[in-house]
Amino acid sequence: MTAPDRDADLLLNAYVDGELDAMAALEVERRLAADTALAERHAQLTALRRRLRSALPAEPAPPRLHEALARLGPGQMVPPAQVVSPSPRRPAMPRPMSNVRSALARQGGWRAAAAVLFGVALGSSATLLLRPVAEPPVMAEAVADHLRASLAPQPFDVASSDRHTVKPWFAGRLPFTPRVFDLAEAGFPLAGGRVDVLDGAPAATLVFRHGQHVISLIAQPVVTERGQRPAAGGARFGFELRSWRDGGMAYWAVSDVTADELDRFVAAARAKLMEGS
């Protein structure tokens, strides 16, 4: 197709789509009257569009999707019984990053758990955006990162309980080297890792399992302060949150486990960090 032909073709398509102003449309109509080849092309184009309209119907989203999104408004909580039902539907194509699949990342249990988090946490989701003035925004961000990961098909980008797999995975993706460890002996096996963003800077997140629950341990280097601090925190937006500093790193532990269980996790994690790698 020559350049003028290409332009004529674009013009014809734009005419058919009602994208031309009155003067340009008038010009096209004049050309159609004078040029039989162009008129033929116009007829083919309108015929194609007519057939596409009947062949590609405007299929609505399934009711369960509408329901799930309607629940996602502030102040709308849904009891767990109305959870989106798990459906068998993972793509046959293997995901490039995860070769090791932990039992947790399987469809049914995970979608149900995610939907409960969805319903419970998003009831107060408006507060995720209306940060309490006195509190550093990173607290809300840490919870939001955990929540977002919980809603994904799996809460980690690298799935492995082996720190020798997870640690190098971080190496290519972060400007710092996070401590990677397993707490299986304390009842919190490592499930994988992911990269999060906190306060505009990258953070390393280790994902641990505890029964049906997931704990995110987010770590980020602290630029200004040294030294240790006791773990502060409490309940935030339906989750338990603890944050502390050890050496040059700031840590946030977020989960929907009980306060006691998260305290146990934090104690185990800090002990491990103290051990040195």
């Binding site: 399934p62 996602l72 408006a126």
Partner: protein, 182 residues
């Protein structure tokens, strides 16, 4: 932004566009069930972006978020499809598009042939077989009737690119079905 305002904006800007959002996700990901995940992810992101919403942003705003989530999904699961995105203007791409629209192997059995004669099945297959850059503009225009400007916003490409990809996608389909006389 107050909780009431957030609720109102969510109901005005996101909820009414769930059907077009699902359709876009479904055609980009080529999978109805993956489309649901994509739209849920997009709704969450859109909700968190509501404070940044401008009065001038139309329905294309939410669809653009859906498109980004779909691309994230493709990047993770089918990265080779995304590679086509920038290369679509090259001449080879149009030739490849023609090949893809003829698409799946010809029907093997008489029964399959009868089925394939169903016009809608053939068209759906042909559109499904179009490479991503052409498929995206075509479904946005033909199924939900988005304007060129809206398509440009949703796909984050210049209007000229919208026009050329649309014209090409239609040319490919017209070639593919030229022998039909219905």
């Amino acid at each position: 932004m107050t909780e009431d305002e957030l609720r109102r904006l969510y109901a005005e800007r996101i909820l009414p566009n769930v059907d077009p959002a699902y359709r876009l996700a479904r055609w980009l990901a080529r999978s109805p069930t993956d489309a649901e995940d994509i739209v849920q992810d997009a709704a969450l992101r859109a909700f968190r972006s509501l404070p940044d919403l401008r009065a001038s942003d139309g329905r294309a705003w939410f669809l653009a978020i859906v498109r980004r989530c779909a691309f994230t999904f493709l990047a993770r699961n089918r990265p080779n499809e995304l590679v086509q995105w920038d290369a679509a203007e090259a001449p080879e791409a149009a030739a490849a598009a023609r090949g893809d629209a003829f698409g799946a192997a010809p029907p093997a059995t008489p029964e399959a042939e009868v089925l394939a004669a169903e016009q809608s099945v053939r068209f759906e297959t042909a559109v499904d077989g179009l490479p991503l850059p052409f498929r995206a503009v075509l479904v946005l225009r033909e199924i939900d009737g988005f304007s060129y400007a809206e398509i440009a916003t949703i796909l984050d490409i210049p209007i000229g690119t919208v026009m050329s990809r649309l014209a090409r996608a239609r040319a490919v389909l017209m070639d593919a079905f030229a022998e039909d006389r219905t």
